[in-house]
Each structure stands twice: as C-alpha cells, then as structure tokens.
Symmetry: C2
Subunit: 242 residues, 2 copies
DNA sequence: AACTATTTGTTCGTATGTATG
DNA sequence: GCATACATACGAACAAATAGT
C-alpha cells in the first residue's frame, strides 16, 4: 500500500499569505512597489475579498507591507526590517517571561564581541558616522525622544559595522527592547542611565581598530548601564504600557 | 483654541488585535483557554465579524492562538513559544539577507557560552534528560525527521538549562533555522553533518559541571558541524523550498 | 447512526472614508 | 468641485467541521 498523504486542507487565507510572502521574499515584488489591489488579488486567487484582506492584514502587522488609502494606494512592500524580531522580544518581555537581568546578560555577551568585529572593519565612512554620533551626544536636544535616539546611535552603527546581518538583527532588536523599557521609566531618571560621552571610549577604540580595547570599553559601558537599568526597573516595575 | 486631536486614526482591527494581545500577554486569558467566539467578540467590540477575524488571524499567524472548528472550538491561547522569532530569522534567510557563515558565526559565539552556563546549573533531572538524549542519538530510528529531532535534542536541553530565557529563545530560533536549512539538503548527505555521539563530550562536561570543558567541546562540535553545513549549502544552493 | 447546535471558514452585496487628478 | 480608484467596514448568508444528544 502506498502511504497516502493527507489532502491539503489549509485555510484559503494561509495559501494567499504564503504566496504573497514568497513573492516578496523572492524579490518579485521589490521594496517600494505595491501588491496588486484587493480586487485584482481576489480575481487572481479566485477567493473572496475577506480572505485576501486577512492575508494582507497579517503581512501588514508583521511588517512586510504598509497600507495606503486612496487611488494609487494599496499594500506597499517595505524594505526588510527587524520589526518581527523586535516584536517577538517585546512580547516576551510584556508576558513577563523576560527579566531585565536576562536581557543585560545577553547584551553583555553579544555586544563586546560585535564591537570587536566592528573595529576590524573600520572605514573612513564609518569613522565619520561614529564621530558625528559621538558629537551629537553632547549637542543640546529639544525633545526627550531625540536624546534617546542619539544615545543609541553608536550601538546601531556598531551593529551595522560588525559585518554579520544576523548579529545586527539580534542586536537591533535588543537595543529597541531596551529602548522601550527605558521609555517606561520616568524621564527624570534618565540622566543616571545615559551620561553624554558615554560611548566615547568605545568609538575611539573602534576607530583605532583596537578590537580588545573596543570590547573592553563596551563591556564597561554596558555593565554600568545595565546596573542602572536594573535599579530603575525595580523602582518603576509595572508601569510599562501595553 | 485647544488643538483637537483626531478621534480615530487607527484601524479597527488593530485596536481589536491590541486588546486581545494585551489580554493574552497579561495572562487574563491563560494558555489552553480560549478567546470568546467571533460572534461574542463582535458584540463586545461593536465591530463587524470581518474586523474580528482579521485580528484573530494575525494572532494565529504570529503563534498566539491556534484555531479549532466546531462546537467547543475557537481560538485557543498557546503557551508562549518562539515561533515569532523563528519565523523572523527564517524570513531573513529566505530573503537572502542571511548567509550560512553568518549563522555559524553567531551560533559559535553564543552556544559555547550557553553550554558554560548550563554546566553551572546541572541538576539530577537535567542529568537524566541529557543521558537519555545522548543514548537516543545512538538508537535506531525509522524516520529521517525523528533522527533530526534526536540530534538537536541536546542543544534544546542546554538552551533550557542555561537559565536565561532570552538566550534560550534566541538559541531555539537559531537551532530551528539550522534545522530547516539542513532539511533543504538531500538526506544522503546528512551523515556528514551529524554522526551519532556527536554531543557526548559536551553532555559529559556539562554533567561534570565543568564549564570550560563544556564550552570548549561545544565550540569544537559547532566548528565541525558548521564547516560541513557550509559545504553542503554550497552544493545545494537554491533548492530551499519557500 | 443520525440529528442538532455551535463555531469557524467563505462569499457576496453594499456603503463609506480617503486621497489622487 | 467632481469623478475615480482604492481601502475600510458592515451584515447577511451559506458551507464545513465537530461535539453532544
């Protein structure tokens, strides 16, 4: 007897989702371009609008497309980002499955290594970006959000520099998670978390191409930061907005 | 004049999704329990069924609930898993943003550390599980899938043992990604990837509580495995199913 | 074994909001 | 201002699955 395979009884919206996702991942619909309109998709897939809409909504909520209304509107493919990863980590945190010390431990293990890797790939362009970021940390800001952005910029640059997209993706997600956790505490305590010039040593070591020094500086920076983060987290426990 | 803010700019399905997700993350609907039926939700949220279904579909595709039909069916909340992360990594790989060497580099940096951590948290229960997993690697199997499962079991146990949920989540996702990549190559080459007893040294060191030895054994194992994986990947490039 | 009730899956018609030209 | 093209939303209906009677 041949072993008969079960008939595929997958949901219609799942099939549509899979095909759309494949087209995006394969690059058949490039970033900036848009998917066919809902009406067109209903015709091509031979399903109802509701099915198509479910699939598109999933694509939107997972960061693959962004929707725009009106004529020349539709589902526009976004450049690949780390939304899905960030959301995954954030959800784990919100579900209280993740503690600050755990996050700190992982960052402390990953980021010094990334700083080491980054220092081996220094280029004039990256050097310029690092120097600008360092300078920007000291410049006056007019909003709290802007300050947070500037204080995380060096981390993002190093993640990009390390030459490993997977490291970059993981680190980006962790930085964003840290960012959101910090956002949950009251602004007046942020001075303790991020003094200006906090990343000077790291950037300097990376620019010099000194991997050991960069890793060491990153470790020192993170140890200090993580300690402060744990402290304010204990104080403001339970204030995070969902 | 006060600057009046726009009433509702967010989509209805997004609001519904946010509220359902919050209820799940807060534990107000526990794992195993089910959300109210679609009809009930339409009444509570005062929106149409299509809107509710879009939200539920997103929850399903992101791994928060699984659907069941029929009476006593519905959207059942799943225990928290790592689906979202795994999918994120897999999508990056499918989009050709991720190479095997990059994956190898990250695993080589993370897993030895996790083995070290695991060795410091050995308990009789974990010891038993490790010994069983080691023994199972040598036992005959009747399916290819079963063999793959047994060869990854030690990694999953160590991830669980390391005592850091974030490490565990990341590693789980990376192992699963590796698994799916391996699945894409032809079975006849799998012997080169995974000899039985491949994890003996690691498990032994962890059981002995020797962190350094465990990390070293893990590094040696991964170096060998990653090299083989890179080789077969080059051979079978482009055969991965989407 | 057959029927019933409940719940998800799917479709269609229609109406409305929004942005472009 | 108007027509157009698109997403958004609603409601009614029917199909399919499945637990209980």
């Amino acid at each position: 007897m041949p072993d008969f395979r079960p008939i595929k009884q997958t949901r219609a919206s799942e099939e549509v989702l899979a095909q759309l996702k494949e087209a995006i991942l394969r690059g058949q619909v490039k970033a900036g371009e848009k998917l066919p309109s809902e009406r067109e998709l209903t015709e091509q897939f031979q399903v109802s609008r509701g099915v198509v809409r479910e699939a598109i909504r999933v694509l939107e909520m997972t960061g693959f497309v962004t929707m725009k209304q009106g004529p020349s509107g539709g589902a526009f493919v976004t450049g690949l980002n780390f939304d899905q990863l960030s959301n995954g980590f954030l959800d784990m945190y919100l579900a209280n499955k993740l503690t600050i010390p755990e996050l700190n431990q992982v960052r402390l293990h990953i980021e010094p290594e990334m700083a080491r890797l980054a220092s081996q790939r220094i280029t004039p362009a990256f050097r310029l970006r690092l120097e600008k970021a360092i300078a920007a940390e000291r410049a006056p800001v007019d909003s709290y959000d802007e300050r947070m952005e500037r204080m995380t910029e060096v981390h993002f640059i190093l993640a990009e520099m390390c030459g490993n997209y997977l490291f970059e993706a993981i680190d980006n997600a962790l930085i964003k998670l840290t960012h959101q956790i910090v956002d949950a505490v009251k602004p007046e305590d942020h001075d303790a978390l991020h003094g200006a010039g906090e990343h000077d040593e790291i950037a300097q070591a990376v620019i010099e191409g000194d991997g050991e020094k960069a890793a060491k500086a990153m470790r020192a920076h993170l140890e200090k930061f993580c300690q402060e983060l744990s402290r304010v987290d204990l104080i403001y426990k339970g204030l995070m907005k969902y």
